[in-house]
Subunit: 106 residues, 2 copies
Amino acid sequence: MITEDELKRSEIRAHMFKALAHPLRIYFLEKLKEKSWCVCELADEAGIPKSAASKHLAQLKEAGLVEDSKTGTRVEYSITAPCLLDMAACAEGVVLENRKKQIGLN
Amino acid sequence: MITEDELKRSEIRAHMFKALAHPLRIYFLEKLKEKSWCVCELADEAGIPKSAASKHLAQLKEAGLVEDSKTGTRVEYSITAPCLLDMAACAEGVVLENRKKQIGLN
DNA sequence: TATAAAGTTGCAAAATTAAGAAACTTTGTC
DNA sequence: GACAAAGTTTCTTAATTTTGCAACTTTATA
């Protein structure tokens, strides 16, 4: 039977993955792998209002995946954990394998 | 500006992370790292009805993170991608770092 | 054959999350 | 000081997810 501690632990991790569970947040992280970007640039790139971009970035930050630094009126976001790159690669692999498998079934 | 292809790509990846974005699904994956388990065992471990466990496992399977094999009336689930272990470790690191940072701020 | 055990699926209610618009801060500039 | 640019926050509505229960399928067994 699951303990309180195990549940709490799982919640914390799930919370981190929840931050990755949105197309635009994934897209932002991909962009941030190259270099840091400010909110308005990312909003423009994604074609969404600044308010939405700001909220998505806040989620990534809250999960510890990115960090920000203010310069004048701009807020630049950058990636924190380098292992996120490997994670993305793993995701890529899983997705490809899964696709192959599903095609095989049809 | 984001292209259709980039968006599609991000959606596919986000979909995979969505499968990880739930405490019980994380918990199930952790259990499956040790050995394979059947639905009813995992349901008992988590203290939830079989139907709920079945649905969570179906999500993990659909995302290509686990696979199943039937034996009699039992359906055993096991993990597919070994890199998921590294991913979990990365998640662990991010969570810990983030916690440190947040404590530092308070 | 009748029954039970293991899983899955469908449905409605409850809970979370996302999106858009408007208001509000803060910083820099004319 | 007035204005504009960059961000964040708030609020409401819309969309997704999660949950629990009941119904149903399949396989094993008395």
